[in-house]
C-alpha cells in the first residue's frame, strides 16, 4: 500500500513538465520576436546596384519598406518580388519608399534577379552583412516597416504579400505625420 502523498506526488511532478513541453510545442520556434520593434531604425548608407547612394537618413519623413532578399532564396524571394514591385508602384506617390537590401549574394545573380522582376525601386548590396545584422536579420526574405518618425514598427518574416504590405502601410499612413 503506497502512502497517500506518493499517489499525488507522481502527477504533481509530471504535470508541470507536461505543461512546459506543451507550451514549447505550441510556440513556433521560427517566430522569434524582434527586439527592434518600436525602436529607432539603425541608419545605413549603401550604394545601389546602379551606383547611386542610398541612405536611410535621406528618407526621413517617409514610410520605408526595407526588404532583405537574396537571389538564391527560392521560392520565397521569387514569390514576393512581384508583390514588392506592385506595392512600390501603388504607394510611391503617398510618401512610401521601398528599399531592397541584397544579402549573402554575388552581384551577377542579384542583378539578374532584379532584371527578371523589373524592380524599379532602389536595391543595394550589403556585402559585409552590416545592415542585415543591424536589423537582426536571420533569414531571407524579411521585411521591416519603418514609420515616418524613423521607428521600426513591423517585421514580416517570409514572403511578403500585397495584402500584408497594404495592411501595414495603410495603418502607418493613417498615423499623423
Amino acid at each position: 500500500m503506497r502512502p497517500r502523498w506518493l499517489r499525488w506526488a507522481i502527477p504533481a511532478a509530471v504535470l508541470p513538465v507536461l505543461a512546459l513541453l506543451a507550451y514549447g510545442f505550441w510556440t513556433n520556434p521560427r517566430e522569434i520576436p524582434s527586439p527592434l520593434l518600436g525602436r529607432a531604425a539603425t541608419p545605413f548608407a549603401l550604394t545601389t546596384f546602379d551606383k547611386a547612394p542610398l541612405a536611410l537618413e535621406d528618407l526621413r519623413g517617409k514610410i520605408v519598406v526595407l526588404n532583405f532578399w537574396a537571389s538564391w532564396c527560392i521560392p520565397a524571394c521569387y514569390d514576393e518580388a512581384p508583390a514588392l514591385e506592385r506595392t512600390w508602384l501603388a504607394y510611391k506617390d503617398k510618401g512610401v519608399m521601398v528599399v531592397g537590401v541584397n544579402v549573402q549574394d554575388t552581384e551577377e545573380p542579384a542583378k539578374k534577379f532584379l532584371a527578371r522582376f523589373g524592380h524599379s525601386f532602389p536595391n543595394a548590396p550589403d556585402p559585409k552583412g552590416h545592415v542585415a545584422v543591424d536589423y537582426g536579420v536571420y533569414g531571407v526574405p524579411e521585411t521591416f516597416f519603418i514609420d515616418r518618425r524613423g521607428r521600426v514598427r513591423f517585421k514580416h518574416v517570409g514572403a511578403l504579400t500585397d495584402e500584408a504590405a497594404r495592411q501595414r502601410l495603410d495603418s502607418l499612413l493613417e498615423e499623423p505625420s
Binding site: 527586439p35 527592434l36 545584422v133
Partner: protein, 152 residues
C-alpha cells in the same frame, strides 16, 4: 650615421605599417565571443563553429567591433540588442530562463530523495513480514527426499 638613421626610419615605418594594416585584435577573444552567439542560419551551432557565410560575416563584425575598442561584453550586448536573447546559446540566468538552470538540479534532488525513500522501505520490508510457518511433517518429507536423492 646618416645610413643608420635611414635604417631606423625604414624599420619604424615598416613596423607602423604592419601595425596599421592589422588591428591588434586577439583572435581568441573573437572566438570566445563568437562561441557564445547562435549562428542564425544553423541548427544548434555557434557563430564560432559554423562554416556558413553568415557566421563568417558575424565573426568579421565581432572582430571590427573589438578593434574599435569595444569590450567582449559590449559586442555581445550589440548582438542581443539586434536579435534578442535568442542569439545567446546559453540563456541568461534570470526570469523565466532560470527554469532551464534550476529544473535539472531540482529533478536530480527529487530523484535522489525518491531513491532514498524507496531504498529505506525495501530494506525495512523483510523485518515487517514474519517468516511463514512450515508444517513439521512437510519439513521431514523434504529432508527425506533430498537425502534420498543424493544416495541414488
Amino acid at each position: 650615421m646618416i645610413r643608420r638613421l635611414l635604417l631606423v626610419l625604414a624599420v619604424s615605418t615598416a613596423l607602423s605599417g604592419i601595425a596599421g594594416a592589422a588591428p591588434p585584435v586577439d583572435e581568441r577573444v573573437v572566438h570566445e565571443v563568437a562561441a557564445q552567439l547562435r549562428c542564425v542560419v544553423c541548427q544548434n551551432l555557434s557563430v564560432a563553429d559554423s562554416p556558413s557565410e553568415t557566421a563568417n560575416q558575424m565573426r568579421q563584425i565581432i572582430r571590427e567591433r573589438l578593434a574599435a575598442g569595444e569590450s567582449p561584453e559590449q559586442v555581445r550586448e550589440y548582438f542581443v540588442q539586434k536579435y534578442g536573447q535568442w542569439i545567446l546559446l546559453s540563456p541568461p540566468k534570470a526570469g523565466f530562463n532560470l527554469l532551464v538552470w534550476v529544473v535539472p538540479f531540482v529533478g536530480l534532488g527529487a530523484g535522489l530523495v525518491l531513491v532514498a525513500v524507496v531504498l529505506r522501505r525495501w530494506s525495512r520490508r523483510p523485518a515487517a513480514v514474519p517468516p511463514t510457518p512450515v508444517d513439521p511433517a512437510m519439513r521431514d518429507r523434504i529432508r527425506r527426499e533430498m537425502s534420498g536423492g543424493r544416495r541414488s
